[in-house]
Symmetry: C2
Subunit: 318 residues, 2 copies
Amino acid sequence: MDEDILYHLDLGTKTHNLPAMFGDIKFVCVGGSPNRMKAFAQFMHKELGLEGDSKDMKDICAGTDRYCMYKVGPVLSISHGMGVPSISIMLHELIKLLHHAKCCDVTIIRIGTSGGLDMIFLQPPPWKSSNINMTTHSQLESNSVLNMGIEPGSVVITDIAVNSFFKPQFEQVILDNVVIRSTELDQDLADELLECSRHIKNFPTLVGHTMCTYDFYEGQGRLDGALCSFSNEKKLEYLKRAHNAGVRNIEMESTVFAAMCRLCGLKAAVVCVTLLDRLEGDQITASHEVLAEYQQRPQQLIAMLIKKRLGLWYPREM
Amino acid sequence: MDEDILYHLDLGTKTHNLPAMFGDIKFVCVGGSPNRMKAFAQFMHKELGLEGDSKDMKDICAGTDRYCMYKVGPVLSISHGMGVPSISIMLHELIKLLHHAKCCDVTIIRIGTSGGLDMIFLQPPPWKSSNINMTTHSQLESNSVLNMGIEPGSVVITDIAVNSFFKPQFEQVILDNVVIRSTELDQDLADELLECSRHIKNFPTLVGHTMCTYDFYEGQGRLDGALCSFSNEKKLEYLKRAHNAGVRNIEMESTVFAAMCRLCGLKAAVVCVTLLDRLEGDQITASHEVLAEYQQRPQQLIAMLIKKRLGLWYPREM
């Protein structure tokens, strides 16, 4: 193509010097909420010790209200809205942007929010505490501490994204054919993130499957939508089957994110905080302050990974 | 439920007096872009001759960045982001809001943007003009003026929303069951909108099927995404089949919008402007100014319908 207009980012190969603007990008962090991704950029500005006032940070996609984008040294922070179609538009245009900018060795991480299944069918033990510093699901099982409850606010690092039927695949409709794509994520990156989490105090973290649905209400078994045709028993039976299949949290973007990044050779991870325990209910009732604190947790973890990669932090220092 | 928290709207039954805030709503207009829905609210403020400065209009959902919402007399204007999952979250919470506020006889209209199939395989006749004031698809055929090209910027009123396989249905995953829902829209409302369009000069409008996809690139047969596995010939063959099935434009929200509104007893319409002709290409190359003018067209039409319904405008006056 003579010109490539990245319409939803309001960028283009003729209107912008993409290699000059983005050529040094090594980390891309994506998340649903524009405000959260701006906050993450400001947080990274501080963490990387960059000069200037992070409050003046400019939205690179200011010409459109579809997404927002901030650049902080080698880190790009982008919002993607809610759901598979919304994130897929952004990913197509982001991946083209990275290509046009001749970026290489890029790591991409989704930092999101989710509903947790951690506590489901687990009885809280007498020593239950939110200070427990985490282990993987398989470690939990082998250590026979399966009933060690994990509070909302815990962070799930996705090993594999699964669909509503617990299958590790994404169905992409191409013209009118359905093509099945793998939703595996980078295992080394997940391990590195889990290792980083051990160095943060009071930071419950686990590795598990993340279920991606097309709907927040009926698709996630919520009883409180405008439409609901199933009972509480059916809901719990479904969530139990999900838990048995290894699902530890539920969100709405991970399958297409994993599939597209994999196909395009980007090392990708998904790190989501859980805002509630779906066994306890469907509504998100925690206060704004508590939710805001929860949402900083994946940001903290990613900042640590980026600083480690850039040689600004060494695990042995802890 | 004792309390209902409409999380993504940042509203709730205990924190807000929903009947007082929303009880008089008769028209709900939804669209993807927050800026466009704010502009629509300001436009309606002027059209309804309301007092006060529309620039001071307050976003009712200011506490969240997921959606924005403005109220102008009996009209509610809300953004829904991009894609089926994003609009479905908003619709669940909007429909609960209308229920809690005890609203009745509400008409809901999606005003969106889309890719057009109007001109595909139609030869422009010598008398081709963008001033042609519209007819329905069936009228076009019966009048043997099928090759009367319609420019980008034309407005499509949806008679029925169809999926990527041209079927008039929406597949809702509930727990792990797939439930098929009808995507018919209110026919009388579509006719009323078409009638209104005849009273606006230089306003090419037609009624046709709208295809709703889960993806802007591969799912709509675009050759310019980060991933593309098909040829230009395959793309054109698919778009031709869509056209033959009655599809006149392609967007990303209409099936779930039609299905949910129908099930919840809301009279619903979809009115989208076409930003480009998909026969001519995949990229949206028109200038910001031209695109902005196009996007005002559905707003103009809806304003006319609302003024007619409120007795502020009579067709015979034209």
